[in-house]
């Protein structure tokens, strides 16, 4: 009998340290599935960021490099340039504040690695501080009365895909979510499109993934998926924000637009 569904080879079959209901685990899994489908397990390198997903190197079953907070796009730039035939995944939560310069300039140079930006609207690892993508009014330990953009000096939530879309080096920018099976399926397709484009050497690709952090949102995992649907998706629209990949190559994702 043919095995129709199983644990991806690129992900170790071990329990993660992530909290129940965390988005990181699901995102790891769909990345691993795509890498397996592309047959690139031993040709992949992940740069695991400073953040909860610093643990990614425990779970992905291939090479990894762990750079400083926010600097993964700079490190990934060099890794991909040293190993242009490898699949380089820059996995980040920390790109819209401390890593802003690095992501903008890597994108602008059209660096040919793929960024997976996990947007959970919070700083998870350090215990729930305001992230650059925290929604207006959303509670964080450093926004105890909710994010107040101007008076309290907290700024507005940053839409990373839209921000990067103006840059010449960016070829594919998509936003998915992992709060329900339908969104997970679409997100996996975006990731596949991005990784395939990377291997064709097309340019900068990024998939932003809206993800739950039930622990720091102070909700049950079940409430968190609903909160994401009702609060994050209206502000961070899902879909392909920019797709200037070669026309013949985008059919796989076309149905999802």
């Amino acid at each position: 009998m043919e095995l129709a569904f199983g644990h991806p080879k690129s992900l170790k079959p071990i329990q993660t340290k992530y909290c129940p209901g965390c988005g990181h685990g699901v995102i790891h899994r769909i990345i691993a599935e795509v890498i397996d489908e592309m047959g690139l397990q031993t040709k992949s390198i992940i740069t695991n960021p400073v953040g909860c997903s610093i643990w990614a190197d425990l779970y992905f079953d291939f090479d990894s490099v762990q750079p400083a907070h926010g600097r993964t796009p700079a490190a990934s730039t060099a890794i991909k340039r040293m190993l242009p035939d490898h699949l380089v995944i820059c996995y980040q939560g920390d790109l819209a504040a401390i890593g802003t310069a690095e992501i903008i300039h890597a994108a602008n140079r059209g660096e040919k690695f793929t960024t997976i930006f996990v947007n959970n609207a919070i700083y998870g690892m350090t215990g729930g501080q305001m992230a650059p993508t925290t929604l207006v009014g959303q509670y964080a330990t450093t926004a105890p009365n909710g994010r107040d953009p101007v008076e309290a000096g907290m700024g507005y939530p940053i839409k990373v895909c839209e921000l990067l879309a103006t840059l010449g080096g960016t070829k594919y920018l998509a936003r998915g979510a992992v709060n329900n099976p339908a969104n997970i399926k679409k997100t996996k397709k975006y990731i596949r499109t991005a990784l395939e484009a990377q291997m064709r050497g097309e340019g900068f690709t990024l998939v932003e993934v809206l993800a739950q952090c039930p622990t720091n949102w102070k909700m049950s995992p079940a409430d968190a998926v609903g909160w994401l649907e009702q609060n994050m998706i209206p502000f961070y629209p899902l879909g392909e924000i920019k797709n200037t990949l070669q026309p013949a190559q985008t059919d796989a994702a076309a149905g999802e637009r």
Partner: protein, 355 residues
């Protein structure tokens, strides 16, 4: 071509030596007085199929070095003092992950933005790690264009051998001046041995995944890693200490100076000797590891010392540590971009000897 002698600026000689050492990745950001080095790499790396990137900041440049080094590539960045401060985060990570890399500091005067003239005010930063955590980098201090080329070339081999970043600490004067330089033989990067710990080429090497990281949240484990690294440093100290001595044997006073101030001191020594005053020169070439033992031996033989620096007095602390109260140690320095003259140093020697 290996034997050609060229007239080059220090900055250019450093660039050419790096290329000949098999540096395949250079990441920089403009800052005076090292701009010729970045421009040299821009002009000469790309035609050879190597990587040159003008990064968005020194912070990014050093993190690019981190990425390139993690794949086993010979990688370099260069800057001058304010930019080197920005690189400290990355240098700490390189050391924490035991990655080889070469960092060139064509130092200028500080603190803050300071000035663009030569200085040795970065000695503390260079020799005490410079960033956060327990670590050292190897520090090489050239005194000439020739030595800038030689030490940069060797820096790559030392860094690979010990898996410790190497800092080449020059200054604006060495970077800017032109001298004849005999360049070392080019190394084909493809001929360099593969690094078993590097990320990438997993399929070809048929090995388990490699993880390049400086993180460890288990105190017992991290302590053990740090202790092992410091044990390794002891080996480096034994094998690498390097210095030059000029007429130390019969000297009544030994000038201790590195880089540009050592050149000035040599001039002062020659002038003194012409007058019959017995001056010697001790020039550390490795600032880390610092040649403590040799200075200590000289102190035990009754020498006295005058540290000459382009700073308010930084290396002099190492001279005092080395001599450990067994010999008088004095200091003469200029700073802010001022270079001491031979006459000034000679006058200071005469003043001390007359006391």
């Amino acid at each position: 071509m290996a034997d050609d002698i060229r007239l080059m600026k220090g900055n250019e000689a450093i660039g050419e030596a790096a290329i000949r050492a098999g540096c395949v990745a250079y990441f920089g950001y403009p800052i005076t007085p090292q701009n010729e080095l970045t421009a040299y790499m821009a002009a000469n790396m790309f035609p050879k199929g190597r990587t040159f990137i003008q990064a968005e900041s020194e912070t990014s440049a050093i993190n690019m070095v981190y990425g390139a080094a993690a794949t086993g590539a010979r990688a370099m960045t260069s800057s001058s003092s304010p930019g080197i401060s920005l690189k400290q985060e990355g240098i700490s990570y390189l050391c924490g992950a035991d990655l080889p890399a070469v960092i060139v500091n064509v130092a200028r005067s500080g603190p803050g933005l300071g000035g663009i003239s030569p200085s040795q005010g970065d000695y503390f930063q260079s020799t005490r790690g410079g960033g956060h955590g327990d670590y050292y980098t190897i520090v090489l201090a050239p005194k000439s264009v020739q030595e800038s080329a030689d030490l940069t070339y060797e820096a790559f081999a030392l860094s690979d051998k010990y898996r410790i970043p190497v800092l080449v600490l020059a200054d604006g004067l060495i970077g800017q001046m032109m001298e004849g330089v005999k360049l070392p033989a080019p190394i084909d990067p493809a001929s360099l041995p593969k690094k078993a710990w590097a990320a990438g080429r997993q399929a070809e090497e048929g090995r388990a995944p490699n993880h390049v990281s400086s993180m460890n949240l288990v105190p017992e484990e991290l302590e053990a890693l740090n202790i092992a690294r410091f044990k390794h440093y002891e080996t480096v100290k034994k094998e690498l200490c390097r210095y030059e001595e000029v007429q130390v044997e019969d000297a009544d006073i030994v000038l201790v100076a590195y880089g540009t101030s050592a050149r000035v001191s040599l001039g002062a020594l020659q002038a003194a000797r012409a007058m019959g005053v017995k001056v010697g020169l001790f020039r550390p070439i490795t600032l880390w590891p610092f040649p403590y033992d040799r200075l200590n031996a000289l102190a035990k033989r009754g020498k006295r010392f005058l540290a000459v620096e382009m700073s308010m007095g930084q290396m002099v602390e190492d001279v005092r540590l080395a001599t450990n109260g067994q010999a008088p140690v004095d200091f003469y320095g200029r700073c802010g971009g001022m270079v001491p003259s031979e006459e000034e140093v000679l006058a200071e020697v005469q003043r001390l000897l007359a006391r």
